[in-house]
Symmetry: C2
Subunit: 126 residues, 2 copies
DNA sequence: CATTGACTTAGAGTTCACTTTAAGGTTTAT
DNA sequence: ATAAACCTTAAAGTGAACTCTAAGTCAATG
């Protein structure tokens, strides 16, 4: 069991964000202590790791919430979730390829600017 | 010379977005026809290509505006712009590496789900 | 020469993903 | 036992990047 503070430290998310994710159904309702404080289980931590992974690869919180809602419905939703992951993976791959192409352009621009800068310095020195 | 419509078609941006970019100083003030309609030059098109390249690699519009403002000030800002590009390129490289690591996780999750799904189907078939 | 459709402006509204605020209750250390 | 630190909620606010609206002007076509 972890307090919200410990979860913040482990995940890098703020407590506000954790509560927000719970409100948005990314996480199931987290258990509480006698005093009403959240107590995160290891299972909650795994769910959070999955959330971070999906979020960091560009899935919207809305879609993550959808995925997690399906996950809570059990094995009958395995196919739907599998399909979501497959599509998401395709998207990520596509974006990475696009990114690579844009990176090449940025590199090219940078080289071009470096040359112009060298020439400019030469001229200044004359 | 291109009308705003032609520029939309070439860039995939909407006319609203093009005007918004101009207001935000990403583009210099675009020339006008007798009737007050925007007329984009080839130079404007090149600037737009650069903007899209920087935007699609994750530079904020604010930073792009900064870059473009420097560009309009002439060669004395070459060094500053060169440095911006260098840093930006580093950022993009870093993000791509991070993305690759997350992609591996997504792939792993997908494989795991595929297996679970196969098992589930087997069980259903029994 | 009238209508249709594209263009103009300023400014308000939207979406996403938080982030902050206000007002109060709980835990822990001294 | 009391202060400091941390937790709770609901709701409002923020920043980025658009996106839409209203009211009007311009251009092309039958």
């Amino acid at each position: 069991m972890y307090t919200i503070r410990e979860v913040c430290e482990k995940t890098g998310l703020t407590s506000h964000t954790l509560r927000y994710y719970e409100k948005e159904k990314l996480l199931p309702s987290v258990g509480r202590s006698a005093g009403g404080f959240r107590q995160y289980t290891d299972e909650d931590m795994e769910t959070l790791a999955m959330i971070c992974c999906l979020k960091n690869t560009g899935m919207s919180l809305q879609e993550i919430a959808q995925f997690m809602t399906l996950a809570r419905e059990g094995d009958s939703t395995l196919e739907a979730r599998c399909e979501m992951l497959r599509k998401h993976r395709e998207n990520v791959l596509g974006r990475m390829e696009e990114m690579q192409r844009y990176l090449d352009k940025v590199t090219c621009k940078y080289d071009c600017y470096s040359k112009r800068l060298a020439e400019y310095r030469q001229k200044q020195g004359e």
